[in-house]
């Protein structure tokens, strides 16, 4: 059985130019069709996987409370919920940010992500410092780097008071692209 297979796969020794030409044609045709099939399946597949990453970051304003919910001068952790999460996001639709009421209508929202490697920084109210548990990055109360490896100050999100509500831009994870 093996012998016959080998024989059948071996080209006859005396082939006419037409036969050789035909072989080259069907070879190219087959490769082309395989490429076409791969494209038919592959392009939507790759597009499906990669398309979400070319979307623009969300620009939604999210209400996080009323101004009077926040004590003047205090820095508190607030939970921001993605207004349009995937239905199966569960608790991961939430994000944490550090919010400070600076004056009656003026708020600062700091990202909770350390600019070193993204770990969640903690606010030490008595020390007036943000401190990162991972590699010991420390930030002053205005978000500037006080010590440790962070390359940049804490990121800030846009906050506004609109219609009696404190609103902030949807919290995305800020990526420190600085080398």
């Amino acid at each position: 059985m093996n012998t016959s297979l080998t024989e059948s796969s071996t080209a006859p020794s005396a082939e006419t130019p037409e036969e050789i030409s035909r072989r080259r044609f069907v070879e190219k045709l087959s490769i082309g069709l395989i490429g076409l099939c791969s494209a038919i399946v592959g392009v939507p597949l790759v597009g499906f996987i990669l398309a979400p990453f070319f979307r623009k970051p969300p620009e939604n304003w999210v209400t996080i409370g009323k101004p009077d919910d926040f004590e003047l001068g205090k820095t508190v952790a607030v939970t921001v919920t993605d207004p349009s999460p995937l239905p199966w996001a569960g608790v991961t639709a939430k994000s944490g940010v550090w919010l400070r009421r600076v004056s009656a209508d003026n708020f600062i929202a700091f990202s909770a992500n350390c600019t070193h490697l993204g770990c969640p920084v903690r606010w030490l109210p008595d020390a007036d410092l943000f401190m990162c548990p991972c590699h010991g990055g420390v930030y002053y109360s205005d978000g500037k780097v006080a010590a440790g490896p962070p390359p940049l100050p804490l990121f800030r999100y846009d906050v506004r008071v609109e219609n009696g509500e404190v609103q902030m831009k949807q919290a995305i994870v800020p990526i420190s692209t600085a080398l």
Binding site: P58, G118, M131, P133, A147, T177
Partner: protein, 484 residues
Amino acid sequence: MIKIFKTIWKWLDDRLGISVLISPALHIAPQDAKWWYVFGSATLCAFIIQVASGVALAFSYIPSSSQAYETLQFITNVAPFGRFLRGLHYYGASAMVLMIGAHMAQTFLFGAYKFPREMTWTTGILLLTFTLGMGFTGQLLRWDSTAAWSVVVAAEQAGRVPLIGNWLAQVILGGTSIGGATLSRFFAIHVFVLPGIMFAFIGLHLWLVMRHGISEPPVADKPVDPKTYRAEYEELLKKSGKPFWPDLAWRDVVVTTGLVIAIALAAFFVGPPALDRPPDPSVLAADPRPDWYLLWYFGLLSLIPERIEGYVMIGFPILIGLCLLFVPIWNHKGERAASRRPWAIASVCLAVIMIGALWWEGDHSPWSPNFDAQPLSEKVVGAISGPVFTGAKLFHDKGCLNCHLIQGDGGRRGPELTYIADKLTRDNLVIRIVNGGTNMPAFGPSLKPGELDALVAFLETRKRPVPGEKQANQTASSSTSATK
């Protein structure tokens, strides 16, 4: 009856080609390939355990950001054998990392990567990379608080890649933040993409082992010469080769049996790693740490100078990967025996010491502040009122204790201050506290009047006890401190 079975076997063998399929196991190999050669089989065994236990876990695991944590709790606490299976998967992964490391070190020290086995080594290095990828993605599927924050850490690291960093970070997060898409993507990578690639590369790796043969143990002063090696190897096999199965394979079976028993015992008695809190990114009291096999890299990132950190973060893994991939290209002939290649022994020793030391540091992570530091006890403070007492309280409240150690309490991020008064004068202490310094914030702007004096008063009592006298911190009275 036997005749019937024989007939059936012959028919099946003819139609299925079973004898042909298992014939590689009977190939002739050098008879001296003994106990040092078992690590490859052990790695394969660990991989098979991973596939089997992973498939079983997938029967209950739901790769949904909202449900994965609950299914893991169900698997661990409710499902029959669930805890054991999770343990099997975790310790199987650990064993796979250890065995692949041992296999690589043995191959390197034996010079088995040299002609004609260069690509066998290269495919092995790629398999090491995929294995570490499996380890990382597997930790993330443990979808608890640590896992969720580890995704952010990975995204931040990817973000440092020039030009495409931001996009890569989004690929890892599954968007611009952790959410519904994050876990399902890692699940697909961990369960389909990487294992698929690994099956292909393990097949290729084994094919190359068959194609070039199991390398014979090296002999000093018998260098590899590409012109003559193949003929010499064939001659060796003809002269003293043995069938791999069972003459040589029994050792692999013994070691892999030991490995399976060790993994099972660890899974049963130690159990899987405990689940952290739910993966809620709004809970900021999280302290993400990688699993043990990546702790050394966590340590490295903490210890390298900050100004070159970004370059190391991106360049180091690439450099190590390229070095390993190109080892057989640079050094494909010549001596194989480790006794004639002292640099090879030094490289392996250096790698083991370096990874071991970084692992130790990563595990202890002295650079991490101690958020659990409790206020110093009365015995340590040596006062129950007055500036020393107030200073000790401030030392805790201002976060100083998070980073500084005093008589065994506190953090290790900064220098120990148990006897700081022996080293720094009052003026030095004031300057240091007010202005800060390397890796220390300036506390001047945040201290209220009187707080600086109290802090300094407390620190001035931190003296080494003089023999014959009572310990300074035990005798320090509030009144004497107040006068300083």
